[in-house]
């Protein structure tokens, strides 16, 4: 009696067809696999760039913030000049009055001397850039500066402007 009841129940159980659903699911999966493109990992450097004016304070958070130091901004700013050679490549880097190697590691070591020395007041930099310099080369220098600020445990404050003809020859 019990066996026949079990057989009847089995016969009445709904038979859901899984195969068409699986077909549909595989089609959807194929669509997503084909259309998926991993977005490249892009980073960014944030800067507050004010219109050119004398003795501008470069503050990363807000242009309206006042620096707490008593030293004037001009004394705390490390002037840097980038000159371009053929094809827009970086030809010369001048930090302060000193010409240094265009190699990024050498530049990093040199910047450490400026930013890690407690006797020097520099906590920001203004980079004057040759108009012919390629953006990729500029980013290489900004990257070195940003690393140097991080190593010196200072917030990266950097800005740039166009180098005028005949400036600091």
């Amino acid at each position: 009696m019990k066996a026949s009841e079990a057989r009847r129940r089995k016969a009445q159980a709904p038979d859901v067809p899984i195969a068409p659903m699986l077909d549909m699911a595989f089609q959807l999966l194929t669509f997503f696999v084909l259309t998926y493109h991993a977005a490249p990992i892009e980073g960014q450097f944030m800067m507050n760039l004010l219109p050119p004016q004398p003795a501008t304070a470069i503050t990363p958070e807000s242009p309206s913030e006042q620096p707490s130091d008593a030293l004037p901004t001009t004394l705390r700013t490390l002037p840097t000049i980038l000159r371009a050679g053929g094809g827009g490549r970086l030809d010369q880097i001048k930090v302060g009055e000193q010409s240094i190697s265009t190699d990024t590691r050498e530049l990093g070591k040199e910047l450490d001397k400026y930013f890690q020395d407690p006797d020097l007041p520099f906590d920001q930099t203004l980079i004057k850039v040759d108009p012919k310099l390629r953006y990729g080369e500029l980013m290489r220098v900004i990257n070195a500066f940003s690393d140097a600020f991080v190593r010196a445990k200072k917030p990266p404050k950097l800005s740039f402007d166009e180098l005028q003809p005949g400036e600091s020859e």
Binding site: Y36, I41, E42, G43, R140
Partner: protein, 156 residues
């Protein structure tokens, strides 16, 4: 005997776990897929900078941003249109107008310094010269933009 060995055996593989896995894969792809690639213009080849930080901070991600793609010749890429400087200035002016209108509608005021709160995100081709970029920056500054971000590829 011969009849019972004939058509009685029926292979019924359990497809439910397979369907579960497939649905999980579909869910994954639905979550990670990004149809709006309007900010990523493939014509722009970004430089590489290890220190460039991805936008992870929620506050940073929520700020109003305007992405400007600049190609290797220093032209602004606005959709399918390649705009030289004079046209790019008009585009930037138009965007600044929209930002001001948005602020007015929201009842907000610009910064005390007169700057607009929108961050201009530059995606500049690594072979573009600095003068082109500087012209765009000056055009943005003239319209009241003060906050800028410069994109680069993270890592080598």
């Amino acid at each position: 005997m011969a009849g019972s060995a004939g058509g009685e055996f029926k292979a019924e593989p359990n497809l439910t776990p397979l369907l579960d896995v497939v649905f999980q894969l579909i869910t994954f792809f639905m979550l990670v897929i990004n149809f709006s690639n309007d900010n990523y213009d493939k014509r722009v080849k970004l430089p590489v900078a290890d220190s460039a930080r991805p936008v992870e901070d929620a506050n940073q991600a929520n700020v109003d941003r305007l992405v400007l793609n600049i190609d290797h010749e220093g032209h602004l890429l606005e959709g399918n249109e390649v705009q030289p400087l004079h046209k790019a200035i008009e585009t930037i002016k138009r965007h600044a107008g929209f930002v001001r209108l948005g602020l007015k509608v929201a009842g907000k005021k610009p910064d005390p310094g007169g700057g607009l709160p929108t961050v201009i995100v530059f995606r500049v081709d690594r072979d573009a010269d600095f003068s082109s970029l500087n012209s765009m920056i000056k055009a943005c500054q003239a319209q009241g933009f003060r906050k800028f971000a410069f994109k680069a590829m993270s890592g080598s």
